[in-house]
């Protein structure tokens, strides 16, 4: 767990959507230092999902967390990220919308012919019209600089370390994981904290006992 190692055993990084947006992403975008500064910044273009080990923060359930910069293209060396559906989930805190969560899937190869993989990404954005932004007018300029960056590959190497203030509200925080089975794995389904199927059966039998026993 890296920096979480000073916590006693049993702690895992399991941030809620709200925590990711309000605590981590907001601070990153507003240039407020995060303490502890545990989520690293990664250039998504240079990182295939299986390369995240050692670069991103590993949370519980083998989820990987990192900040990156949104660009139009989310291509990597061997594939690309493509949005799943068109609906984006809104993240609310105290009934105020603070962010948006997009889900993307990783495809091998080149769009649109890529081969689907099990790698999924949750990409959290701050809401553009939110009150959280310390810099107001970065939006339109950002698009220009994005495409410029995408054209000039070599400069990307430096881009993560030379982020300027006006781009700060285009930060996103990402959670990447490899889905197992059909449904998206939830945060709580790892061992112990749920009833096993056997427990469920025993509980059912208890019910019958309650019905059957006299008085």
């Amino acid at each position: 767990m890296g920096e979480g190692s000073s916590l006693p055993p049993g702690f895992q990084f399991f941030p809620s959507d709200e925590e990711l947006v309000l605590h981590f992403l907001h601070r990153k975008a507003a240039l407020i230092p995060c303490h502890p500064d545990i989520i690293p910044t990664i250039d998504i273009h240079h990182c295939d999902p299986w390369d995240l080990a050692g670069k991103a923060l590993q949370g519980g359930n083998r989820h990987w967390y990192f900040f990156t910069h949104t660009t139009q293209s989310r291509a990597t060396a061997t594939g690309y990220w493509h949005a799943v559906g068109t609906d984006h989930e809104t993240i609310a805190s105290s009934c105020v919308d603070v962010g948006v969560k997009k889900t993307l899937r990783y495809y091998l190869g080149e769009a649109p012919e890529g081969v689907k993989t099990n790698w999924l990404m949750h990409e959290y954005h701050l809401l553009d019209d939110g009150v959280l932004h310390s810099t107001g007018d970065g939006g339109t300029r950002k698009k220009v600089s994005d495409s410029a960056q995408a054209m000039q590959e070599p400069r990307l190497v430096h881009s993560t370390t030379t982020i300027t203030v006006q781009e700060s509200n285009r930060w996103v925080v990402c959670r990447v994981y490899e889905s197992t089975g059909g449904s998206q794995s939830s945060f709580h389904d790892d061992g112990g904290s749920e009833l096993s199927c056997l427990d469920e059966v025993f509980l059912s039998l208890d019910d019958i006992d309650e019905i059957s026993l006299p008085n």
Binding site: L7, P9, S193, C197, D206, E210, S212, L213, P214
Partner: protein, 381 residues
């Protein structure tokens, strides 16, 4: 990383306390038992008798992160000075153990046991079951010795650990889909449980064996003279559901294999059914259940505990049958008489109860089936 001990903000944002069972036992409980200091006072001592489950979340909060489960240490309190039972009653209700204790291993070494309890509101035996579940972990004092002779040690309460510190995890059971017809049908095995069953049935848990033993216990209780005349139509209706489920899944052919039950006497076992030894004692239970159902069929119905238990067994069987393609290894007892008998009992019973409402489809299905094979023609319509 900033940690302020005993403070509310001791845990950095985003971190949750989600220890493994091994961490709970080997790190936290071991330190507690030996009075060693624990780095961060995350697990508090709680007097279980003075704490209602809904107050636990406040008392056992860790940091500011939302929690789905809560942890505390508790010192087991004897119910009676001379006995071995533990008092787990609170002002509003009581914790009741369910199932069998599970052995907790650290790699291959046995380190402790886990007991599962459910909170009931009110006083036994009239308690009303809640969704609050507790896993109570205790250490094996002689874990080294026990790991060497681990035969039959998994059963029930360990002898040496009725008193002392335990570490508990409390959480609320998720209700995946509770409404399957009747509003209080809380004993439906959820589809999640079904899939889990399929996935787990090959593992070392030996779930079926455990359930068989548990069923055996229930049946024994029944044979000790407890008899119920109280008819519960809801109970009767529930019998039909597993069968429905199986039919809905296009597994009619499974029921074509049912042995004929022409009379209420114990039928002779067809030679084609291999007798698994693990099922031998269960066969007798099954037979007695059939007998009972047959004897009281004059009333039109019978709702005795044994049949009730078999209904649950039915559901289990149905859930096992639901995905034969996912489970390449056939169930050890799938063709055993003890299963088929009680299935038949379920039919008989349900028919007598006069299943109304949506059961019509089911019965037309069974008529079709029986007309093809004439094997379950004993069903009273």
């Amino acid at each position: 990383m900033s940690i302020s001990v005993n403070g509310q903000s001791c845990v950095p944002p985003g971190f949750r306390f989600h220890p493994t069972e091994e961490e709970l036992l080997n790190y936290y409980l071991r330190k507690k038992v030996t009075s060693e200091k624990i780095d961060l006072d995350v697990i508090r001592d709680v007097d279980l008798n003075k704490l209602e489950p809904w107050d636990i979340q406040e008392k056992c909060r860790i940091g500011s992160t939302p929690q789905n489960d809560w942890y505390f240490f508790s010192h087991k309190d004897k119910k009676y000075p001379t006995g071995t039972r533990t008092n787990r009653a609170t002002a509003a209700g009581f914790w009741k153990a369910t199932g069998r204790d599970k052995v907790i291993y650290s790699s291959v070494k046995r380190i402790g046991m886990r007991k599962t309890l459910v909170f009931y509101k009110g006083r036994a035996p009239h308690g009303q079951k809640s969704d609050w579940i507790m896993h109570e972990y205790r250490l094996d004092d002689h874990s080294d010795l026990l790991s060497q002779s681990n035969t039959s040690s998994a059963m029930g309460d360990a002898t040496n650990q009725e008193d002392g510190w335990v570490v508990c995890r409390v959480f609320k059971k998720k209700n995946h889909h509770k409404s399957m017809g009747s509003p209080n049908n809380s004993c439906s095995v959820t589809s999640d449980a079904k899939t889990q069953l399929l996935h787990h049935s090959g593992s070392g848990d030996d779930a079926l064996d455990q359930i068989l033993q548990y069923m055996g216990r229930s049946c024994k209780r029944e044979s000790q003279g407890t008899s119920i005349n109280d008819v519960n139509s809801n109970n009767a209706n529930r019998h039909l559901r597993p069968i429905e489920t199986v039919f809905a899944c296009g597994l009619q052919e499974m029921f074509m294999k049912l042995p004929g039950l022409q009379s209420p006497t114990v039928p002779s076992l067809p030679d084609t059914f291999p007798l698994d030894h693990s099922c031998d004692n269960q066969t007798s239970y099954g037979s007695s259940a059939v007998l009972h159902a047959g004897a009281s069929s004059g009333n039109g119905y019978c709702a005795d505990p044994a049949v009730g238990d078999w209904a649950a067994f039915d559901r289990l069987l149905a859930s096992q049958l639901n995905g034969p393609f996912e489970e390449p290894k056939p169930l050890p007892c799938c063709d055993d008489p003890c299963f088929t008998f009680h299935s038949s009992a379920g039919y008989h019973h349900g028919g007598g109860g006069g299943g109304g409402g949506g059961d019509g489809d089911l019965w037309s299905m069974t008529r079709t089936t029986s007309s093809q094979s004439d094997r379950i023609s004993h069903v009273s319509m």
